[in-house]
Homo-oligomer: 242 residues x 2
């Protein structure tokens, strides 16, 4: 079973204070880029893997999706998601992405935001998502970028002669990475970008788009801290089609 970090009080408390938890999609700087990868959701059956507080689920309902299933492992998050959603087209399900079984050819669009880098058996999950999608179905997701995640000690470093750099080491050595983010000993799964893309291809998906997310000049102007994302990508976004 995956680590249920979002139900640890220290992590949940910290996560709940993030801009993306308070303001929702508009608090996530990568949201315009993820949205641009999505097909028109009108009349579509949508699956959200790692739905969290349900921000995307409710947005999809607002876009005219026929039905939306939000899946998450965290009871805390699902409780809040349910409390904030009143729409008969929406259903929430508690489930572990490592083992979640999905009905065959039952969705038109599968979406996942910053959840799949917690999943150990990526190939297994991708195969299950593929089978759950109708023909020509879309799979659009964001993950932590492997450049951000590879190092055994991630974090900015300053050169002696000045200038900041992001360290890359152990890139080819995939598997668990333990970091202290919001809480101690958060477990993530480092995979190369190649492994992510080849996993999709092997499952039968066609790669439609790859985004190594960086902010627009307007975003940097309004949120100067985002300039970090020009130096090294923190997130990768991928659009694939069955």
């Amino acid at each position: 079973m995956a680590q249920n970090i979002y139900d640890r009080p220290d992590f949940f408390e910290g996560y709940s204070r993030l801009d993306r938890s308070v303001r929702g999609l508009d608090g996530a700087p990568e949201w315009p880029a993820l949205r641009a990868l999505l097909p028109d959701l009108r009349g579509k059956r949508v699956l959200d893997l790692g739905c969290g507080f349900g921000w995307f689920v409710r947005w999809a309902a607002g876009q005219g999706a026929a039905s939306i299933l939000g899946v998450d492992l965290s009871e805390n998050m699902l409780a809040r998601a349910k409390a904030e959603t009143a729409d008969p087209r929406v259903r929430y399900l508690r489930g572990d992405l490592e083992s979640l079984e999905l009905p065959r050819e039952s969705f038109d669009v599968a979406v996942s935001s910053l959840a799949l880098h917690y999943v150990e058996d990526f190939a297994g999950l991708v195969g299950r998502v593929f089978r759950s999608l109708a023909q020509d179905g879309d799979f659009v997701f964001s993950i932590e970028h492997p450049i951000y995640m590879a190092s055994t000690r991630p974090g900015w470093l300053t050169r002696e002669e000045g200038g900041r750099i992001w360290p890359v080491d152990h890139y080819a050595i995939e598997g668990e990475r333990i970091t202290d983010w919001l809480a101690e000993r958060v477990r993530k799964q480092h995979r190369t970008l190649a492994t992510t893309l080849n996993g999709l291809i092997d499952a039968g998906f066609a790669i439609r788009r790859v985004v190594e997310w960086s902010p627009s000049p307007e975003q940097v102007a309004s949120q100067p801290a985002l300039a970090d994302e020009m130096e090294r990508p923190m997130m990768a976004l991928v659009a694939a089609r069955k």
Copy 2:
């Protein structure tokens, strides 16, 4: 016009002493991985973009290719390639990948080894390669990996507390990178991996495989310096199909 670095005496001298120049394909540790991406070449019309000394061209002839066209900008390299090739199926052409015009639907396989990161107009070249390939034609190439190339000052750094890291900075800022490799002021073009892959997709290619090259345990055992490639990828290999 692209920088004709291989015809600068200092660079050419240094390049000629590299293992991959002396021993050919067997001196290139990524060759088994690149070879694994290639289709069976028997009876195929093959194009080699940046053919250098012609090692791959002659190997393709040995594999039973119907014809092989090797293109390079360097007179020095083409002179040696011609001197070492005696096969009526092989033709060498001096040309600049920035502007090279290719006949339509005339090749079954296009290959390029560590040349495309010198090309400024990648999208333009990819479009020309796409049109030059027959339906279902393969495009297989290696490039310097953007993780290796992004930094304005690439090179290993040592942490104060021990351990080596590779610096990443300016990743999202694409364009020229100047390095001193074999000679001073070698000009390369940094592109994110996403830009490379999306360029192929936009031209009409399907991505078949992405490799962020790292050595096998056997390779590291016989060439310990290759352990560097576990820490950060120096090369990316891509297989795409029309």
